[in-house]
Structure formats: C-alpha cells, structure tokens
C-alpha cells in the first residue's frame, strides 16, 4: 500500500471536482487498496487484528477529510470563478420606484388635527356651499353690516342667498344646532373669497376652533392657542401677543401675533423684534350662541380661526400662496411630503 502522505498529496493535487470524485472511488471505493486491506483483516491473527483495523480506519478517515476539504476548496474556487464572470456595474441607476407626495396643506391639516386631538378636540366639517344666513346672519353679521365688506363673497344666485362660504365659521352654527353642549371642535376646510392677487387666492383653507362649555373663559383661549402655536412650530419658546380686534361673531375679539426675526431672507418664528399676525379669535358672541340655540345662561366659550395655507407657508418656507393651487409637478415634488410621514403625537409632527 502506498504511503498515506502520498495519497493525501494526490488528493490535494486534484484539479477539479470530477477528478476528485474519481480519486475518491480510487482511494476509498470497492477496489481501493484500503478496502482490500479491510478484507484481509479477517485472516489476521486475533491479537494483530484490532491494531490493524484501528490503523486502517484512521487512514480512511484522514483520506476522507482530505477529500472533503479539497472539495470545499474546489467549490469555493469554482463559485469565485463564476462570480468573476457575473460581475455587474452597481453604479448603474437603481430601478425607479413610484414616488408620491402629500400636499403641504394636507400635511399641515394632519399636523393641526394631531395637535388638537391631544387636548380633546374632534374634527367637524360642513358644506362648501352655504346659505347667506349661516355664513353671515347667524354669525351676528346682519345684512348691510359693514363687516360684510371684509369678505368678498362668491354667490351662486342673483339674490345672494346661496354662496361659497367665506370662512369655516358657519360650521360652528351647524355643529351647535345639531348637538348639545359641550362642543369642542376644530374645522379644517376650503373657503372662498372673490379676491385674487399675489397674496390672495380665490380659494384657501381655514381652520376654525370652537370650545363651548360651562366655564370656558378667555384664559382658556389664551392657553389653548399658546399650546397650539408651540406645538405647531415645534419651538419651545415663542412670543405671543393678543391684540384687540373686531369680528362680529366674537366679543371680546383678538388677533394673535407671534414674534419672529429674519435670517437670510427666511422667517424664523419664535423670538425677535417683529410681529406676525397668524390668527383671529375671541369669546363667542352671545348672539351667535342664541342663534345656535345654546343656553347663554349656562354656556359660554371661545372660537378661533386661522389660515392653514399661511401656516404651511410659515412653517415650511413657502413664499407664494398661489403656487399651492397650481399643481406644478416640480413644486409638488419639492414641497410635498412622503406619504409615510404621518404626523402623530408620539413620534412627533415632522420627521
């Protein structure tokens, strides 16, 4: 029998898997030398047999190991060779995946709803087409009241009885008439004014807020807006100023300004020496409550209204209001939000 080391050398010289296979049957197969030796074992004297058998088994095991190792080595070599040939240029462009976006107005409505949800407001809605009564008269703005001049109104009929709502406030009336107090709602929605220039669009979005309960006073209004403004702009410190104003449907009425400064042509909200008006608010006028069949001896509360588009512009640095409604593919791609970017309280409003 050839020397074991020679056999192992032979294994390690094998060129490919096929020759290794052949070598395996040659070295360990039926007709292999080692097999012959095993067969001879029976004829050996009892005392030698055990030692010889152990020796043979040992040899067999070593050859087997050598073959196995060689096999792995060859396999690895072959795979590597194959991979060499299959190499691609990974710097080629990735396949396109569709990439949709959520409009900034929708995103901001979701953000605002999330903020007010946290303090117990529900979302209410109303129709875009309104009666003159709900839009004005019920809101303490009778016919021929000069405050109507502040709203350039689109009408659907010549008698001016049916119109496109000029604000989301008529939803206050609808909500109160259709339920029982307390009321705690926000109303996001489309609103319309017959006005179009660089800073005005004939359609825009408003958010109305209404909180009516037994002991809701102006301090609550202030606290609610302070909370909202800080959450919305995601700023811990923000200067807020209540300034007396006039809306027919609230008394007292206020406009709210926030502090800001300019940095490289951008508005930075928070602190600074300038004031920016962002919303109107006040205690709901008793006449409005009366028109909505709410008992003014028991209930009172506040309302506020703000421009959603304007808030979006401020927060996300968008300069032109009209571009919101022009559906320019480039603009939507640039200012739009990833649909997975859902504003929530626990994860934060924006990523």
């Amino acid at each position: 029998m050839a020397h074991l080391d020679e056999l192992i050398q032979k294994v390690s010289n094998a060129k490919d898997k096929l020759s290794l296979q052949n070598l395996k049957s040659e070295l360990l197969g039926k007709n292999s030398q080692i097999n012959q030796e095993f067969k001879k074992l029976g004829s050996l004297p009892e005392e030698d047999r055990k030692a010889k058998a152990s020796d043979l088994n040992n040899q067999k095991q070593r050859i087997n190991e050598a073959i196995e190792n060689k096999f792995k080595e060859l396999e690895k070599f072959e795979i590597n060779q194959k991979l060499q040939k299959e190499k691609v240029d990974v710097t080629l462009p990735a396949r396109e995946r569709p990439n949709g976006k959520i409009h900034p107005v929708s995103q901001v409505i979701d953000e605002i709803s999330s903020i007010f949800s946290e303090v117990g407001f529900s979302v209410a809605e109303g129709p875009d087409v309104e009666t003159e009564y709900n839009n004005f008269t019920a809101l303490n703005t009778p016919e021929n009241h000069p405050a109507r001049d502040m709203h350039d109104t689109f009408y659907l009929d010549e008698n001016k009885k049916i119109l496109l709502r000029t604000h989301t406030s008529p939803v206050q009336i609808r909500t109160m008439l259709s339920g029982k107090p307390p009321f705690k709602i926000i109303v996001p929605g489309r609103t319309y004014r017959c006005d179009s220039d660089q800073t005005h669009a004939p359609m825009f979005h408003q958010l109305e807020g209404l909180h009516i309960d037994k002991e809701i006073n102006m301090g609550h209004l202030k606290g609610c807006l302070d909370y909202f403004i800080k959450e919305f702009f995601e700023v811990k410190k923000i200067q807020m100023r209540f300034r007396p104003s006039h809306f027919p449907f609230t008394e007292p009425s206020a406009e709210v300004d926030i502090g800001y400064r300019m940095e490289n042509g951008r508005i930075i909200v928070g602190e600074g020496n300038k004031w920016l008006e962002i919303l109107g608010c006040g205690m709901v006028h008793p006449n409005v409550l009366k028109n909505a069949k709410v008992d003014i001896k028991k209930y009172q509360g506040y309302a506020f209204g703000m421009g959603i588009d304007r808030l979006a512009m401020l927060k996300y640095g968008i300069n032109d209001l009209r571009s919101f409604f022009e559906a320019d593919y480039r603009w939507l791609n640039y200012f739009g939000f990833d649909p997975l970017d859902v504003p929530t309280n626990y994860r934060g409003l924006s990523r």
Binding site: V119, G120, F154, L156, P202, G219, K222, G223, P252
Partner: protein, 800 residues
C-alpha cells in the same frame, strides 16, 4: 384712517413720543398699519465727512473714500468727483436709497474690482439744482454729521386700520379719547367760540314722512356774503396729510371737521338751490350728476336731498354738481345731518359709490353731533371766509337718548378669567365717555351716542379688557384629555385613501373647487351646471361636477412644461347641486405617458388600464374592502373609453359603485389637445365605502392554515371572445370553496390558432384540503367538476 402726531395733539395733551403712541394704539385695538414719512425716502440722505480720499488702483479718475457718518461709523465709498477730498463734508446716499434725479435704487456694487457702499451726491442728483459739477460741499457742517440732509418739512403720518365697529375712531378726537383712556395723556376739551348769528335761516327745509326715510335729523346754517378762498397754510397742511388735495376753504373746512370730529358736513351754494330743501326718497329713474363727475340713475327709496328742480345730492353719500360751491360762491347753506347706516349702505352699494362720508355714515355717526358740527364749521368759515351766519335750523329729531346697560359685577371675571375692581371699571368707562352709576349687584352704564357698537354687557367687558390690556389675561393650560374620537370613520377614510394613493406614486394636487365650464362639461353625467354669479374670471365660472375637470387642466399644464409621464391625484368635493350639502368627496387620479421611458434595463411600455386598475383595487383593499366583495364591471362613466374602462361595485354587479377606472375618452384628450395622449384615470367614491361593523382587525376569521400538501392544476379554456375573464375566475372559485384556495388567470390569447370569435384563457388553480393530503383521485374529481361547471355556465371547451 390717517393721523399725524400734531393733529392728535390738538385733542390730546400728552408728552409721550410717537413710538409710545404707536405701540399703545395697537395694544388697544387701533392697529397701526404703517408709518408714512411724507417726504418719502429723502430721509435716507445723510450729512457725511470724507476722512480719507485715495486714488483707485484700477482707475485714474476714481477715488476711494473713507466716509464718516459720525459715532465711529465709517463707510467705503468710491467717488468720481474731482472735488472729493479729505475733510470735505458732503451728502451720502446709502445702498437701498433712491436717487431723486435718476430714480435709480442704489446697490452695493463693485466698481473696477472694489466694492462701493453707496455714493456721495451732487446737487443735481438730489434734484435741488442743476449743478452737476462735483459733489455737494457743506460749509461748517461738522456738527451735523450723521444727520438728515433734508430737513423734515412735514411730519410722519400714522396709518391706522379702524375696525368696522369703531366709527368714533374715524375722527382724530375719537382716537385721542381712546389714548387718553389708556393713560397716554388727557383729552382736551373742545374750544367753543361764540358765533354771531344775526338772522334766521331763510330756506324752507322738510323731511318727508314716508316709509324707509333715511334721514333722522337735518341741521343747517345759512352763511351769506362769504369770500371763498384758498385755505390758510395750517389747514392745507392738514388736508395734505390726509392724502387729499386742498380745494377751497369751504370744502377743506367741511373735510377737516369730518376727519377731526368724525362729523361729515356738506356745503351747498345757496344761490343754486331752487327755493327749498326737501329730504325724500328718490323716484325710480331720477338722475343727478354727482361731484365725482358721474351721472347716477336712481332707484326707489334712496335718500335724496332735493330742491324744487330735483335731487341735489344723495344724503350722507355725495353732493351734486348743480349746487356745488366754487371760489365765486357768495352764500352757502351748510348741512349737518344724521342718515341711517343701512339706508346709506344700501344706496352706496347699489350705485357703487364709496366716499369718506358714506364710509362714516354706514358705520354710524354720533346723531347728537349735528349741532357741534355746525358750530365748529361755521366758526371756521366765518374766520377764514368772513360773512354772516344765520341761526341754526334743525329739522327732524333733535336729540337721541343714550342707551343704558347694566353690567353684573361678576360677569367680567366669568368671561375674561381675571378680576377687575369696581374703581378701575368706572375709571376706564368714564374716560371713554360712559356715565356710570352704582346699583346693588351691578353697574348702570349710560352709553355715549358716538358708540353705536356698544349694545350689551359683553361689549362693555370688551371695552374694559381692551383698555386694561389683553396681556393681563392669565393663561390657563389646556388639559390633555379626550372624551370623543378625533375623527369619524369617513374622516379616517379620507386621510387613509389620500396616503394610500400617494403611496402608489401619485402627487397630491389641491385645485380650485370651481373650474372652466367648457372643460367641466366633458366630465358631466347630465347633472345641472352650477354657475357662480360673480366668477373671478370666465375660465373659473362653475363649481366642478367632476374631480377630473381641474386635474386634467393641470395635467396638460405639466405636459406643456415637458413632463409627460405624470401621476396626479386630488381628494376633494365635487358638486351636484347648488344647495348646501349637494356635494360629495371624491378621490380622483390621472396618469399619463409611459413606464421606463428611458431605462438601461427595462423595456419602455405605455401605461394602460391595468395600471390604474391595480391602483384602484389595491387602494380599495387598503380601505377595508375584501377582494371577494369587489365586482369589476364594464360600465364606467361616458368620459372613459368604453372599451378600456370599468367600475368596481360592492358585493354584486349591481352593488354600490366604489370606484371607476379606465382610459380617459380619446375624444376629450384630443379636444383638450394634450401633448401626451395616453391618459388614464380612476375615481374612488368615498361615500360608498361601507362602514365596517367591526374594526377590520377584529372582523378577521380565526387564523387557520392547512398542514397538508397543496396541488396546482392548469386549465386552458376556449371561450367566446366577449366572455369576461373575471367571470371565469369567480365561477371556478365557487366550485368548491373548501378545496379551491386560489384561482389565477395566467394567459389569455386570441387569433393565431384560435377559431374566429374565440379566445383561450389559461387558469392556474390551487387545490388544498384542511384535513388530509389529497389523493390523485380527489384532485381529478375537483378538476372534472371545474371543467364541467365552466363548460355548463359559459359554453367553454377545454383546449386540447
């Protein structure tokens, strides 16, 4: 409303400066919109000294100057003037200023490689002479360095936005009263000069008694033998500061009194009045020429001031040319009257006239200021124009009684959240002209007649907190509790579908609710067109009846910008009537062009109906509709290509329509002349998405999967070419709902070896049992059942 500090000080004795006044005005609800410098940008030009002048390294005739503006401020300026030299005091114009001669706005500019921050000016450049040789030389100007070169000729004016509830602040005195109340000085008392009134007013005045009579009281004074002249300087200055043009003393005085006391007046040339003055309602068809030069045709019930010959003016709005005063006017009739706000407003809006008087009357003038106005104006006219005044004549109601309001002592705290003392309450109210009287649990308050906005106790509370200061209200932090769901099911559906579609590659657009009727008509289903009575433009003249009307316009605009492969969607209202609520929320998407138009590894292909179908079905399933509940039928709306469109209905073919999808009708595309004509769309009708009985998560059946071997069998049916593949799928699935787990059509073809009018549909069916491994026999039994059922129900044969 525009005021100047000096005018304000006619009524307010106060030492505070302009900036304090501006802040206080805003704090008490008289919002300052802006401060205007009547001399405009001239205040930009400063007196400056040249500290050093050296030659520009790259230009022989230019000099680099270090210019001092005092207080250590030094600026680098390049100057071409030969007299620019060290020690010279001249005039400096900073970047941003506008040079009067050229109207050019200065910028920081590099001149031959070196930056110049502004310039030094010649007299000609500043428009003060034609001297353009060299820059201005100011002798002995050392002490003025840094100061304005132009001495202020007129003062700053304050532009205040007066809310419609505060007509009293449309006069300077009203503003002064508010400031005094807020602690910024003392309201001066009005000076009264004794007027010599020697004769009775000679003209007959009558207010006719009729319904809708717009005039409550009418006071007059006849002044004879005046000499109407140009106004004296002080008056001209006041008129100019309002942004008006001085006309003549008589006109300027009436304007001055209006802006000073918020008391509109009118002066007639008395010699042009035909016999008498009659205040009456107009008759339809009457015409008159107003002082704005226009002829107005009057309607019913407009309040006119007329004489025997016809209208002389519209009460409280505008006078007429027929009785207008001129420099030659000798005798005038001065009018001070009260007209009802609604009457004035109605007439003004019907005739589309807006005047300062109308603006004031429609907001409410103090009805008790009729006499005061006559006194003030008459004394000024006598002083400036001479003449003799008649006794005043008053027609109509002479005095209006003040309203009285009772204020509960606790109400302020209840509304505002903080307390106010009884003394503070009285002090604020008295300073605003309210009279107060203590009662047991409340305060009795008499409202001054110049405050038509104060109608009930809540209005008093507003006055109190306005003057006390909104910053005194203490903030109550909101409680973080929630007793009701934030969103209803339909609202959640809105947000979910919005993000579901965006997630499929569509960009969300928000477009107008109104649209172009000529495009909207393509997408109507016979609903009535909803016209806007006063559209903003002719191409936005109707409310949209379809979500596609605007979306396709913007698709086209994007295509015109060179973007052909587009996916846009909008979720919003469409309208089917002009009554409130006749609207529904639709989600609509449009897709145009191709996929992989330019790709290194994939073949380009046009998008087709199955792309939008996939988006539709996937979205519906994300909205909670089980796939087995969706039925696809070939009956989409007319604006889709009838051969390449469908609808998804709920539970059966005749169920609620959940969605439509398909190719937009090529006739519409060609009509709109789209660049890329391959356009598909889909609509989801959110109102038809059912509210689930239970939450989707809870509505799921118990989880169970088979542990046994599954088998797949393929079938190829030859079937009538018009037969819908979807039907076959449903038929097979229903053959044995326990064993058939999945049915998948994987090949369809027609033509070639297929007989005329037939097509082949190949179906892969997965068969699996929950309780055993199926034997070959079991499987072939199911297969046979499938073949037979399909044959029976559709007339198909198995392809051999």
């Amino acid at each position: 409303m525009i005021i100047t500090l000096s005018w304000l000080k006619d009524h307010l004795s106060s030492k505070v400066n302009l900036s304090k006044i501006i802040n206080k005005l805003t704090d008490i609800g008289l919002e300052v919109e802006g401060i205007k410098d009547s001399q405009g940008e001239l205040s930009d030009f400063k007196i400056a000294k040249v500290l050093k002048a050296s030659k520009h390294p790259n230009a022989d005739k230019l000099k680099l100057c270090d210019v001092s503006l005092g207080e250590g401020k030094i600026i680098k300026v390049i100057c071409g003037a030969s007299n620019a030299r060290e020690g010279l005091i001249s005039v400096y114009a900073p970047p941003g200023s506008v040079i009067p001669k050229t109207k050019m706005k200065l910028k920081i500019a590099k001149i031959r490689g070196i930056e110049s921050h502004g310039m030094l000016c010649s007299e000609s450049e500043l428009g003060i002479s034609n001297e353009s040789e060299g820059i201005i030389e100011i002798k002995s100007g050392e002490k003025d360095i840094g100061k304005n070169f132009f001495k202020s000729k007129s003062e700053k004016s304050i532009d205040i936005s007066i809310t419609p509830n505060r007509p009293d602040c449309l006069g300077v005195r009203g503003i002064a009263r508010d400031l005094a109340s807020a602690g910024l000085g003392k309201l001066s008392s009005l000076k009264k000069t004794k007027i010599k009134q020697s004769f009775s007013q000679p003209l007959k005045i009558s207010i006719t008694k009729e319904k809708n009579q717009g005039c409550l009281s009418f006071g007059t004074c006849y002044i004879k033998n005046i000499k109407n002249t140009e106004s004296p300087e002080w008056l001209k200055k006041k008129i100019i500061s309002l942004g008006l043009k001085p006309i003549s003393a008589v006109v300027d005085i009436t304007n001055y009194v209006m802006f000073d006391l918020n008391r509109p007046l009118h002066a007639y040339d008395a010699d042009k009045i035909d016999e008498e003055i009659i205040i009456r309602n107009s008759k339809p068809g009457e015409t008159f020429e107003a002082l704005d030069g226009k002829n107005y045709k009057l309607k019913n019930n407009m309040c006119v001031i007329s004489d025997k010959s016809g209208p002389l003016g519209l009460g409280g709005i505008i006078g007429g040319t027929r009785s207008g005063t001129e420099f030659e006017t000798k005798n005038i009739l001065l009018e001070s009257a009260y007209f009802h706000p609604t009457s004035v407003r109605k007439t003004g809006s019907i005739l589309a006239i807006d005047t300062d008087a109308k603006y004031r009357f429609e907001r409410g003038i103090d009805p008790n200021s009729v006499k005061e106005g006559l006194e003030f104006a008459t004394s000024l006219i006598l002083k400036i124009c001479g003449g003799e005044a008649s006794k005043f004549s008053f027609t109509g109601k002479s005095q209006i009684k003040s309203k009285v309001i009772e204020l509960d002592n606790n109400k302020f705290k209840k509304i505002i959240g903080i307390s106010i003392t009884s003394n503070e309450t009285k002090k604020i109210l008295n300073s605003l002209g309210f009279k107060t009287k203590n009662s047991k649990n409340y305060l009795k308050i008499e409202i001054p007649t110049w405050r038509p906005d104060i109608l009930e106790d809540i209005d008093i509370i507003e006055e109190l907190i306005r003057i006390k200061g909104f910053d005194k209200i203490s903030l109550v932090h909101p409680e973080r509790t929630r007793s009701k769901d934030t969103l209803s099911f339909k609202q959640k559906l809105f947000h979910l579908s919005q993000r579901a579609v965006a997630n499929k590659g569509y960009l969300e657009a928000v477009t107008w609710s109104f649209t172009d009727s000529s495009i909207d008509k393509f997408f109507s289903q016979g609903e009535k067109e909803i016209k806007i009575a006063n559209p903003i433009s002719t191409d936005l003249d109707v409310l949209r009846r379809s979500i596609f009307s605007n979306l396709i316009i913007y698709l086209k605009k994007n295509q015109d910008r060179g973007y052909l492969d587009l996916s846009l969607f909008e979720i919003g209202p469409i309208f089917f009537g002009n009554k409130p609520g006749e609207q529904q929320i639709i989600l609509g998407g449009l897709k145009s062009g191709a996929l992989n138009r330019k790709s290194w590894d994939s073949k380009a292909r046009n998008i087709d109906v199955f792309d939008v179908k996939a988006d539709t079905i996937k979205t519906l399933s994300e909205l909670g509709i089980m796939e087995e509940d969706m039925h696809v039928v070939n009956n989409a709306q007319d604006y889709y290509n009838p051969g390449k469109s469908g609808s998804v209905t709920l539970k059966s073919k005749n169920g609620l329509k959940l969605a439509s999808f398909g190719e937009i009708h090529p006739a519409i595309i060609s009509n709109l002349d789209l660049k890329e004509k391959n356009v598909y769309g889909f609509e989801i009708f959110l109102k038809n998405i059912p509210t689930p009985q239970k939450k989707n998560r809870l509505a799921k059946k118990n989880y169970s999967v088979s542990e046994f071997q599954k088998s797949e069998r393929d079938f190829a049916f030859v079937i009538d070419i018009n037969y819908k593949a979807g039907e076959i799928e449903k038929i097979i699935a229903e053959v044995d709902q326990n064993l058939i787990k999945k049915v998948l059509i994987f090949d369809v073809f027609e033509g070639g070896s297929m007989p005329e009018g037939k097509k082949s549909i190949a179906v892969n069916v997965t068969i699996q049992s929950m309780d055993k491994t199926l034997s070959e026999k079991d499987i072939s039994e199911v297969s046979k059942k499938i073949t037979n059922t399909v044959k029976e129900k559709t007339g198909a044969t198995l392809r051999s």
